[in-house]
Symmetry: C2
Subunit: 498 residues, 2 copies
């Protein structure tokens, strides 16, 4: 069967108005089905009438389009051929500018520069133009080299073997949530590492912290009517979903004991805190402040969102409890993520939800996203259930403790005249407050020019910048890098005095 003949028959059937479209589609179909194989030569445009019963210009237009799409190639002086499908040509969008639509009003919230700045707070626009990066002290980085890839591969391969048995034939909007194995694994994980005991039905699996904040914002915020207290300095990206949902944000300061609970404004309905490991100051909320926060919440019928993002990495022997554990009235939402302990690339987070909010947050999740991908989640559930995550955490905890101690030593001796470290008992970054008038921005620009990236506290503030200092992440930097990087910092600080 000659595919071109079949195409000609099809063209003869259709009206002239759509002949170019029909021919283009017929050719695409024939190429995709293999009836016109790679390398096959197509009729020259001068044979358009004989081959297809159309004008030369029409055929030239069709060929031009299919060449742009990558189906055909034009060999100069030789003709038009079917392209090798294994090597797709670079695709380009056809110009769509004639009578271009104008005046469509996008939702105005997103056009504000604030959201873009907060989502992109971490990177520096000028950074790519700078010197090569040798030592990276920026917080939030995770060393992926130490992850047990072999184990993960083994588990995933094994789990893939039974895929056809495991997968449901149909994915329907679920009245409940994702698969029980992953929720049970998460519940066991937080019980083991944080003493947070809950029924797996209370666990909502998300794609990570950002989605969790967005779901909570949509659940808890009534437009224009909900006052949300956030720690200041804090984590900028979290603010965006709350603002998008119409919340009013109240930045409340942080001192060495944590959030200044006495300064939480009356009328606050939601308080977002990171009590195990403040971001970015790295401190742990004192028992006194925790008690005060609970008292505030009870008195004002307010919600607490506890983001325990790296709570597994407790570096000292004194344990750090959770607000969730000391909540007796079910007003704490406990947020966790696997970005810091498995890998950010896995995009897995969760929130433990109070009983009274479970159905509603499930509805929101199903309305805006849906259940998670089964191939990913089963592998993670097994990885957790077999104890590999705990082993990995224990290994990393020892490494992080050493790195923290090294940084603190350096801060307490060579750098003591400029910086005063805040106590860090948990997690992968700490902060140090500046004790002089030296501009931290200027110092970090100097260190960056020598290949050492350090964040100042500036970018973390929503309100007035009441503290000046530096953040030291040690998720990625090894001990040699820490030494080297801090010596560079020392030189920059010394140079700033002159």
């Amino acid at each position: 069967m000659d595919p071109l003949f079949e195409i000609r028959k099809e063209l003869d059937r259709c009206g002239s108005g759509s002949i170019a479209v029909v021919l283009a589609n017929q050719l695409r179909r024939a190429i995709a089905d293999g009836h016109l194989p790679s390398g096959a030569k197509l009729p020259a445009t001068r044979k358009a009438q004989a081959a297809f019963g159309i004008s030369r210009n029409t055929l030239a237009d069709v060929y031009e389009r299919l060449v742009a799409e990558g189906h055909l190639i034009s060999r100069h002086g030789s003709g038009i051929y079917v392209a090798d499908i294994r090597k797709p040509r670079r695709l380009r969008t056809p110009p769509k500018t004639r009578g271009r639509i104008s005046g469509f009003e996008l939702n105005p919230f997103w056009k504000q520069s604030e959201a873009a700045g907060e989502i992109g707070f971490w990177t520096d626009p000028n950074d790519d133009a700078s010197a090569p990066l040798e030592v990276d002290f920026r917080p939030g980085l995770v060393d992926s080299q130490l992850f047990p890839y072999d184990i993960y591969r083994r588990i995933t391969a094994k789990q893939l073997r039974g895929l056809e048995i495991k997968l449901p034939q149909v994915q329907r909007p679920q009245r409940n949530r994702d698969s029980y194995p992953l929720r049970a694994a998460i519940a066991a994980h937080v019980a083991m590492t944080r003493g947070v005991t809950c029924d797996p039905d209370r666990v909502l699996v998300t794609t990570g912290a950002q989605q969790t904040f967005d779901l909570l914002a949509r659940l808890l915020t009534t437009h224009g009517n909900t006052l949300v207290t956030v720690e200041d300095p804090g984590y900028p990206p979290m603010r965006v979903p709350f603002r998008a949902a119409g919340a009013l944000l109240a930045p409340v300061g942080v001192d060495r004991e944590g959030l200044k609970v006495a300064e939480i404004p009356e009328g606050t309905k939601i308080i977002c805190v990171r009590p195990s490991h403040q971001y970015p100051l790295g401190i742990t909320m004192s028992p006194r402040r925790r008690a005060a926060l609970h008292a505030f919440a009870r008195k004002n019928a307010a919600i607490i969102i506890e983001d325990d993002y790296d709570g597994e990495f407790q570096l000292d022997s004194t344990p750090v409890d959770t607000l969730w554990n000391t909540d007796t009235s079910d007003y704490v939402f406990y947020v966790g993520t696997f970005s810091k302990i498995i890998l950010p690339a896995f995009r897995l987070g969760f929130v433990i939800v109070p009983d009274w909010a479970l159905d509603t947050i499930t509805l929101i999740k199903n309305s805006t996203d849906g259940p998670r991908s089964i191939p990913v989640e089963d592998g993670v559930a097994i990885f957790i259930a077999e104890g590999h995550l705990m082993r990995h955490i224990r290994k990393m905890r020892t490494i992080y403790r050493k790195r923290r101690d090294l940084i603190v030593d350096f801060l307490e001796r060579p750098l003591a005249q400029w910086l005063n470290p805040l106590k860090c008992s948990c997690g992968m970054h700490l902060a140090a407050l500046s004790t002089t008038d030296i501009s931290m921005e200027s110092v970090t620009r100097m260190t960056r020019a020598e290949g050492v990236a350090i964040h100042t506290l500036d970018r973390y503030f929503l309100g007035e910048r009441t503290l000046s200092g530096l953040v030291f992440g040690f998720g990625v930097t090894n001990e040699a890098g820490i030494e080297s990087g801090l010596r560079t910092l020392q030189r920059s600080l010394e140079n700033n005095l002159r």
Copy 2:
């Protein structure tokens, strides 16, 4: 080193107010670290003072908590032992009801019953109590048995091998979007199957259709000010994100040519259509209506959202074009999904975005979710690039065509006196309008009692139910099932006459 001795030293250091918490955490830590191995016996409560310097009641409380958490087990008459961590006990949430918080106002939108009903539109609450399901004609189901699992496994295993090299060390909020390979693979896929040619930078990867609708709703809707036309009957879950974003929905009827464009109300800013394969009626929008729709959009500066959810499955030789291809002013958002061609469980969708909306929708994605999971997306990119998806589509297309023909034959002959099929050129379901007064609800209740599930058109309407009929999905039912199911339907229709 005796772990209990270390714990005792720690307890001696802390204040009595927190001794129970500290002990509980210390025991958890010791169990997690392996210092207290599975099966180790703990001091009896009567030895509380000697072992830990605390009261018997305090120790009993701590044990009770750790037993509830699954760390310890209580053997009657024998004592308290460390549990075997490989067999976690069923976790239960401790009661959180004392002084239970009351009066926290959740966002009122989600408490409306409409959203829950639309998200859950597909299932029947009473369905589980019915007879076993033998034949399923409900739309939206995909036969996962025919998926090439071996190939997918091979690709994933191969891709996992290089995981440590591929994964970035850090996941940062991205200024652009997900990895180029997947976006390029998607761009090549839609070019090959639908003639939609675009630069891969215009592709936004999502977790599926529901997330895509939510992103578009948040991008395009200004609260209370945006009129959105939806096909009626239509796809209920899509309405929820638009309503949640404050859109006003205008249901517009559908006839054999598709959306009744002349009835689109003035002031409409967004039109959501499924022109390749209307859901649930299964028809293809006529060229005439497509031209009229384009004219409306240009005249009114309105957006078209084209949901081409199963556009690859063109069952006839006459090709079905896209609205995107005939748009010259960049006002069409082209939505696709892999739920119907790979598997719903993979949770992968995409939207091709006009140039002027690209930055904003990227910001929204990064604010409410973030980039996709790399392990999943790389495997899919390779699966597509190696041509396996195309082969799978071609194989399924032949199967679906046969099933469709079988259903149409049956409808046109034995069932002709009750049902009139609507022309279906594409996809995995078709519809038939009722030609008598017989209650379709009553007929489908009868068929369900005999194990055959069929949807009537009722549940798809937003506005007045102007059409009466049945939907026939054939994504899952094989030819034997189709025969058997339709004979059951025939009997039910015959019985309804008496």
